[in-house]
Amino acid sequence: VTVARSDTGTVRAVVVIRTSPPGFHAPYALAVVATEGRPSLRRIDSPLSDHPKPGDRVTLIGSDVALPIPSGKP
């Protein structure tokens, strides 16, 4: 997937859902991501053991997904 440099955001809050509603398979991680001050809820596309923390930068894919940016990358 190719994304523009501007499609990034900052994680404000993160949760690992372990008890899910019908149609979902826990565990999965969701995060509130701020992009230019605007918050949105995103599904985190990374292993639970390595999901981002508040303050981390993420790349945004589509309207629902966030991909952690490894530390040290711009």
Binding site: R12, A13, V14, V15, V16, I17, R18, T19, S20, P21, P22, G23, F24, Y28, L30, V32, G37, R38, P39, S40, L41, R42, R43, P54, G55, D64
Partner: protein, 390 residues
């Protein structure tokens, strides 16, 4: 608060069922039980009730049963009075009370029965989790699989990032509320727990654990609102209603710029304090919406009971405990201990405060003359704040 003709409004009678699991009853039976007891205690008869407001969140979607307020009114033998179901997620009970108060203030009714009820224990956790998620907007958060434990875990995550709120401070809320509920005859959980038990309980939505979460419950609560003159025959002294306010707020994550505060609570509280002409520091006892441990911390800050960003530490140090010197918060044990039959919670809070002001509560706060209830719905989509006085 007074009617148009200048007569003072009071809660003449209140009652609640035990909260917990009631496999032998459905929502109608529970609502009728609480309502019948509230009317009996109020000094007015069923023939005097002019209107019914019934709060429930999932009464229709899970039980496939509409017109609950009319069914309850018929079972109680009321006249063919107006009956209305109100829904505001977890604040449904508080909203039912507000509508009752408004009806009395407007002069369209003199005596109103307000009932709240929910019956959830007959359904799987997955089904109830999905049902409660109706409190999210369908397009967006709900489609991504956000749950209410998940939403409040996000609140805890941001509170930690912003104010340094620790895992141990979250646990202190549950420990305090369970201690308050110890031995309570109406609480679902009346045994104390340790901080270690909280932090090692099963993870539900990180960082929240099982004992950070209010339980799935059945139950009902009811109050009778009328004028002080009509309440002359009440079994116990009527309790004055100084304010009963409501406000709305965000219905989706994308609308929330600050997860550590609920606008609906702050606005409703501001209006309630103004209407009652009192300040947060004047309040003796509070029942607030601790659906999750983090919610009590945020609620204390939103209500102005404790400074913003300092509530978690203050609660952990005992500032709101029954043995402390400040305003006592959730002497009933709150939702975390009493249980959370969603539509009933707002009126169970009122029932507890009525008992506090009358001096007959299980965990009695000495000198409780001025009391506040806060009932929160959804993602802060709605909230009510009610102030009562001796």
């Amino acid at each position: 608060m007074k009617t148009k003709s200048g007569r003072e409004l009071v809660i003449a009678g209140s009652a609640m069922t035990r909260f917990g699991r009631h496999p032998e009853s459905g929502p109608v039976e529970l609502a009728v039980q609480a309502a019948r007891e509230a009317i009996s205690a109020s000094g007015v008869g069923p023939e005097d009730v002019d209107a019914v407001y019934l709060g429930t969140f999932l009464g229709q979607s899970l039980h496939a049963q509409g017109v609950l307020a009319s069914i309850v009114a018929r079972r109680l033998g009321l006249r063919p009075v107006p009956t209305t179901v109100v829904e505001g997620a977890c604040a449904s009970g508080g909203i039912a009370l507000r509508h009752g108060v408004l009806a009395c203030r407007s002069g369209s009714a003199e005596t109103v029965l307000c009932v709240g009820v929910e019956h959830l224990s007959g359904f799987s956790t997955e089904t109830v989790t999905g049902g409660l998620a109706e409190g999210f907007e369908f397009d967006g958060d709900r489609q991504l699989g956000l749950t209410f434990p998940g939403f409040f875990a996000l609140v805890a995550s941001e509170h930690e990032a912003k104010f340094g709120t620790s895992r141990e401070e979250l646990a202190a809320v549950t420990v305090k509320n369970r201690a308050h509920a110890e031995g309570s005859p109406t609480a679902m959980f009346s045994q104390p727990v340790s901080a270690e038990e909280v932090v090692t309980s099963r993870p539900i939505a990180d960082p929240l654990r099982l004992l950070d979460c209010s339980p799935i419950s059945d139950g009902a609560a009811a109050v009778v609102v009328t004028t002080v003159e009509n309440a002359a025959g009440a079994r116990e002294r009527p309790v004055r209603i100084l304010a009963c306010e409501q406000a709305s707020g965000a219905t989706a994550i994308s609308q929330i710029t600050d997860l550590t505060s609920f606008e609906a609570t702050t606005v409703a509280a501001r209006r309630a304090f103004a209407a009652a002409a009192v300040e947060p520091a004047d309040i003796d006892v509070v029942e607030l919406h601790d659906c999750f441990s983090i919610a009590e911390i945020v609620d204390c800050e939103d209500l102005g009971l404790l400074p913003r960003g300092e509530a978690a530490a203050a609660i952990a140090e005992g500032a709101t405990a029954s043995a402390g010197s400040g305003t006592v918060v959730n002497p009933s044990g709150g939702l975390l201990s009493r249980g959370h039959p969603v539509g009933a919670t707002g009126l169970a809070q009122i029932n507890e405060l009525v008992r506090q002001i009358r001096g007959v509560a299980h965990r009695q706060v000495e000198g409780a003359d001025l009391a506040l209830a806060q009932n929160l719905g959804g993602t802060g989509a709605t909230a009510t704040v009610t102030i009562l006085a001796a």
